[in-house]
C-alpha cells in the first residue's frame, strides 16, 4: 500500500476529484494548507505573497492503483504553469480498519 500526498491548486480541486473518481478512487482526505515552491511565493506588482493557499490531498491506495492515482492527479491538476503542485509517494507498511479491527492487506 502507498500513501500519496498531492499538493495542488485549490481551484483545480474539482477537476482532480473528477479524474480520481473516474479512475474509481473515492477515498481521500483533504487539508487546506499554505505553501510555496522554488519561486518563493508570488509577486504581483509591488505586493509579494510568501505563501500561497494550496490544497493537500492524501490518498492511501493499493499497489496496483498507485500509478492510476498519480496519473489522475496529474491530469486534473495540470495547468502548465508554475505552481501546479507536487505529488509525494510513501510506502505504508500496515493499515487497519477501526470499525472491524481488521488489518487491511
Amino acid at each position: 500500500m502507498k500513501m500519496i500526498r498531492a499538493i495542488i491548486r485549490t481551484e483545480q480541486e474539482g477537476k482532480v476529484l473528477a479524474h480520481l473518481e473516474a479512475s474509481g478512487l473515492y477515498a481521500m482526505t483533504k487539508i487546506p494548507v499554505l505553501g510555496r515552491g522554488q519561486q518563493r511565493g508570488i509577486q504581483v506588482g509591488r505586493v509579494s505573497y510568501g505563501t500561497l493557499s494550496k490544497l493537500m490531498i492524501i490518498l492511501f491506495v493499493e499497489e496496483e492503483d498507485y500509478e492510476k492515482a498519480v496519473e489522475a492527479i496529474e491530469a486534473g491538476a495540470e495547468t502548465d504553469h508554475p505552481g501546479d503542485g507536487k505529488i509525494f509517494v510513501q510506502e505504508v507498511s500496515e493499515a487497519y480498519n477501526i470499525r472491524t479491527g481488521m488489518k487491511l492487506e
Binding site: 482526505t29 487539508i31 510513501q90 505504508v92 480498519n97 477501526i98
Partner: protein, 368 residues
C-alpha cells in the same frame, strides 16, 4: 533465625517478620497489598507538572533491563544479604518518560499498600545503582519480596527499597517518608560499618549535578508481548560499584502512525493515548471520505451523495517500533463505536527514516 540478627524490641510492631525466608528475610511494617496479575499492574508516575501517567506492565517490559549484584542492608535488624536483582534502571525509566523534579527536588515512592512510602533525593534517584526490580536471583520477584515491582536502593538502608511500588511522584521539597514519621533515621544513610563492608557510598554530587554514570537508554526492537511476558535478553550488566556501566546501543526504528478518526473522538483518543504513555502527537482537522463517497441521506437514494466530504480528525504519532502495536490497540479501542456503522476511521503505519529534536539536536529515537 539467621546468625547475627538482633531484632529490636519493636519487632512485634511489624506485621510480617520472617527472618528465615529465602533468599533474605521478609520484613513488612504493614499488611502487604493484595496480589496483582501482571496485566493489571499500573505504575502511576507524575512529575512536577502534575499530570499523572499510568504505565502498563507491557510498556515496562519494553524497557531495557540490567542485572545488579548488590547487598540489601537492613541496618536496624543488623543483617545483609547479597542478591542479584534484575530490573529497569530508575533513571532510564524517568528519562524515557521525561519525568523529572526540581534540580534540588525529591521523588516519593508509594507502596501499593497505600500506607508505606519513602522519599529519595534527585541525586539518589539518578544514581545508576537504583533499580525498579522485577527479578530476584533469576526468578520473577516473589510477592513476599515486593513482587512484581520493587525499588532497590543498595546504598541506603533497606527500608528505602520500597516494596510493591505502585506510584512515583516528584516533589519540590522532601516528602518525609513513613519511616521518618515513625522517628527513625532521617535520611536512611548506612553507618560506617556497612559502608566499609560493601564499599557502598551514596552519591556525592551536589543537588542538580548530573548522575555519576551516564547510562544510555536502548530501545529494544521487539514487539510488545502480552503480559505475563517472557523476559527480554539482558544487554548490559553493572557490577556492584556501578562501574563499567554501558548498554549496547541499538538502532531504534521509528514509525509514524497516521489515524483518521471521528472528530468527536478526539478527546477520548487523547486521554487513551496519554494513559498509555503516548503524549506527543500532531493532530489537525481535515475533510475526508472513504469508498462511500461521503454521506447520503436515506430518503433520497437517487440523488447520490449529499455531503461529499466529512470532517475528520487526523492524528500523526511518531513512536518507536516497540510501542507500535500498543499504540494501534489503544487507538482502535478508543475509536470503535461498535454500532457497525461506517466511518470509525483508518490507521496507517509508515516508516520514519530519521528524526531530530531541534532544541538539542538529539537524533533518532532520542528525539521522540
Amino acid at each position: 533465625m539467621r546468625e547475627g540478627i538482633t531484632p529490636p524490641k519493636f519487632v512485634d510492631k511489624f506485621f510480617w517478620a520472617d527472618f528465615d525466608a529465602a533468599p533474605m528475610p521478609v520484613l513488612s511494617l504493614y499488611p502487604p497489598p493484595s496480589p496483582l496479575k501482571l496485566e493489571e499492574v499500573r505504575l502511576d508516575v507524575c512529575g512536577l507538572e502534575g499530570q499523572p501517567r499510568l504505565i502498563s506492565w507491557s510498556l515496562l517490559n519494553d524497557l531495557p533491563r540490567v542485572k545488579l549484584k548488590v547487598p540489601l542492608i537492613c541496618q536496624i535488624f543488623n543483617w545483609s544479604e547479597e542478591v542479584e536483582w534484575k530490573g529497569i534502571r530508575l533513571v532510564d525509566l524517568l528519562s524515557f518518560l521525561r519525568v523529572d523534579t526540581h534540580p534540588e527536588g525529591y521523588f516519593a515512592f508509594y507502596s501499593r499498600d497505600r500506607v508505606f512510602f519513602e522519599g529519595l533525593s534527585r541525586d539518589e534517584v539518578r544514581d545508576p545503582r537504583v533499580l525498579l526490580a522485577t527479578h530476584l536471583n533469576g526468578t520473577p520477584l516473589p510477592e513476599a519480596h515486593g513482587g512484581p515491582l520493587r525499588l532497590v536502593v543498595p546504598f541506603l538502608q533497606g527500608y528505602k527499597s520500597v516494596k510493591w511500588v505502585g506510584a512515583i511522584r516528584a516533589f519540590r521539597h522532601d516528602p518525609v517518608g513513613s519511616k521518618r514519621l515513625l522517628g527513625q533515621s532521617p535520611s536512611g544513610q548506612l553507618n560506617e560499618k556497612w559502608r566499609k563492608q560493601y564499599q557502598m557510598t551514596p552519591p556525592t554530587g551536589k543537588p542538580g549535578d548530573p548522575p555519576l554514570f551516564t547510562a544510555e537508554v536502548k530501545t529494544e526492537e521487539k514487539p510488545i508481548t502480552e503480559a505475563p511476558a517472557p523476559l527480554q535478553p539482558i544487554k548490559g550488566t553493572v557490577n556492584a560499584e556501578g562501574k563499567s556501566v554501558r548498554l549496547e546501543t541499538g538502532k531504534s526504528v521509528l514509525k509514524e502512525v497516521i489515524a483518521i478518526l471521528r472528530p468527536n473522538r478526539h478527546q477520548i483518543t487523547r486521554q487513551a493515548l496519554e494513559a498509555a504513555g503516548i503524549t506527543s502527537y500532531t493532530t489537525y482537522t481535515v475533510l475526508g471520505r472513504s469508498h462511500q463517497r461521503g454521506l447520503r441521506f436515506q430518503s433520497d437514494k437517487k440523488e447520490g451523495v449529499a455531503i461529499k466530504f466529512l470532517p475528520k480528525q487526523f492524528f500523526s504519532i511518531v513512536i518507536p517500533e516497540a510501542r507500535l502495536s500498543a499504540a494501534i490497540a489503544v487507538i482502535m479501542k478508543a475509536n470503535r463505536t461498535g454500532k457497525g456503522s461506517v466511518g470509525d476511521g483508518r490507521i496507517f503505519v509508515c516508516d520514519i527514516e530519521g528524526a531530530v529534536r531541534i532544541s538539542t539536536d538529539e537524533q533518532g529515537g532520542e528525539a521522540i
